[in-house]
Symmetry: C2
Subunit: 348 residues, 2 copies
């Protein structure tokens, strides 16, 4: 592409800090590719909500839609009631833009310390469904605040929704050397949803006979993530289980400061969104302490998505080299210093 129209939702707290560095690295990575980036900033998140009471208006959404991709930092501050920005902004974007593939690599880079004593060679990717499951917002409560309150949450799963994400996961597994797909669910308890997932994986496997499939209950999957994470190649799972497993995956591969993610609309009917897994971290915001690496790795995923794999590899290589040398560093760098160093490495 000759130009990349990027919607930027830096958000709150450390979101603005890490996005600034992500953009710096992005510009550097595009250098010489013939693609130039044009960014539009969207003032969304806690600041906007405090000022106006708005989370994401129809106008915001329409304006975001015309972009090629979205870079998101982090959303939220302790002054906003829980759920307001999550449901009204972050999940609204994922649902409205049909980000049904929430892609989250779990990779332990050389030089990075894992809390595991013997992590082994960890390099998997979680394909988390992004538009269904318990995240649909299909819950409600009666008699709220009384002793007779009942609060329900409904997990909605459709053949349409499960099949498309499972097919995407198979395609990813087929393109990887180990060609292994692990379905994670809890079909012995959530029998209806679980059996839909299981049947779908079995059916789609016929289209990808080279891919080996196995299954783990979500509870067992957390065990393997700490006892034998190298057993995983591609994991496909529902929205909630994916949320849980990817934070755990981040923890064992060096922490959420390094964990990238992509909310992908594979049909390209709307822009995909790239964001670090971490939140706005109000406790360290404004201090230049945040690690921008997760955002920079999300930028690499963005570059892949827009058809610039060489630029994506350059960013990843820069991150890998930076991480490999961190152990021997004399001091902890600031957010801006890490960004500058990564950009310099990308420049070569």
């Amino acid at each position: 592409p000759s130009s990349l129209n990027l919607a930027v939702v830096a958000g709150d707290g450390i979101g603005t800090e890490v996005v600034e560095q992500g953009l710096l690295v992005l510009e550097q990575a595009l250098h010489g590719t013939g693609t130039t980036v044009r960014t539009t900033d969207f003032d969304l998140g806690a600041r906007r909500w405090h000022a106006t009471g708005e989370t994401l208006t129809d106008e915001d959404l329409a304006a975001i839609r015309v972009h090629d991709a979205i870079l998101l930092g982090a959303i939220g501050d302790p002054g906003v009631p829980s759920g307001v920005l999550e449901r009204g902004l972050l999940l609204k974007l994922r649902f409205a833009l049909d980000h049904y593939v929430n892609l989250r690599p779990g990779k332990l880079f050389p030089g990075v310390t894992s809390p595991l004593a013997a992590p082994g060679d960890v390099d998997f990717v979680v394909v988390r469904e992004g538009t269904e499951g318990p995240y649909v917002g299909n819950g409600g409560a009666i008699r709220v605040g009384t002793p007779h309150e009942v609060a329900n949450e409904v997990s909605v799963n459709t053949a349409f929704g499960v099949e498309r994400v499972v097919r995407d996961a198979f395609a990813r597994a087929a393109a990887r050397p180990r060609r292994k797909l692990t379905l994670v669910h809890k079909h012995n308890v959530l029998v209806h949803a679980g059996h839909l997932w299981r049947r779908t994986v079995e059916a789609v496997n016929a289209e990808f006979p080279d891919v080996t499939v196995d299954y783990l209950h979500v509870d067992a999957a957390t065990i393997f993530l700490v006892t034998n994470p190298s057993r995983f190649d591609v994991i496909v799972t529902d929205n909630l289980f994916g949320d849980i497993l990817t934070d755990l995956a981040a923890a064992i591969t060096g922490g959420i400061g390094l964990a990238a993610s992509a909310n992908i609309n594979p049909d390209r009917t709307a822009p995909s969104m790239f964001e670090p897994v971490h939140g706005s971290a109000p406790d360290i915001a404004g201090q230049g302490k945040a690690d921008p690496t997760a955002t920079v790795l999300s930028v690499a995923m963005l570059l892949d998505h827009v058809g610039l794999p060489d630029a994506a590899r350059a960013v990843e290589t820069a991150v890998a080299a930076d991480l490999a040398e961190r152990g021997s560093a004399e001091r902890v760098r600031s957010t801006a210093e890490v960004g500058k160093d990564l950009a310099a490495r990308v420049a070569g």
Copy 2:
């Protein structure tokens, strides 16, 4: 009590092997207490289902009800369709006998190897709600097997159900030295259920002003379980999150071979049930390879529940001593050998 009427559901696979050792240690622990145990075996599980198609009949349930407690091994084999025994037997027992407190300690005994490089001093307990949440079996599907299938699962949460388990968790926290309670949920996404849990914890906190409360989203909780598990004292959480967190807790404290659990009816309107967290492990069944320690520790929880805390402590002490010496053992002992050694230690 002068006699303890115990319903024994040894179940399938390694279930029968570990229960045999659990009973051996139980008899030894009761020696000299003035309490004698009378056991009734219940033929429930995969074997029975294959033979008769039955999971748990009304007669079975009525017969179990008249006991003081239940010792359960493990249920299931690969020949039974997923969900049949879980919903029809295990969860049916938990729900019918109102086991609303599912208690699962996460304790790293000295001498036990954790997969974590620096686990620290891990000693917490998870109070998992046992009769509500996504486990209620309130799901369904339409157009099954067609491209238009919709499969729903409903998480049901009531003020009644949440309050009683939260109060139990507070009481446990108040009785522990650190007096700390962590609520784990996902109230930024599951807003209705999550806010019920949150409001309930806030309200019950007023009755336990000495207990410090904090909150973690379930995804963040998995991070802390691998980066800083010693931060936890008592965790209270819903049925599904508790399922996930307790397997992870087991993993970081030496594996499910050591993880005990108690399904408690605190109102004592029905017998409580004690079971290892692990399953029937068909891959190692019948080989004497299973570790009976989780079952023996569940027996200690049983002894506490029936009012024999000294006997419970004796069992725990025996386990702790056994675990402390495992590192220097020359060979791996069989299931029966571990049971015999533990019984000998209890005998003193």
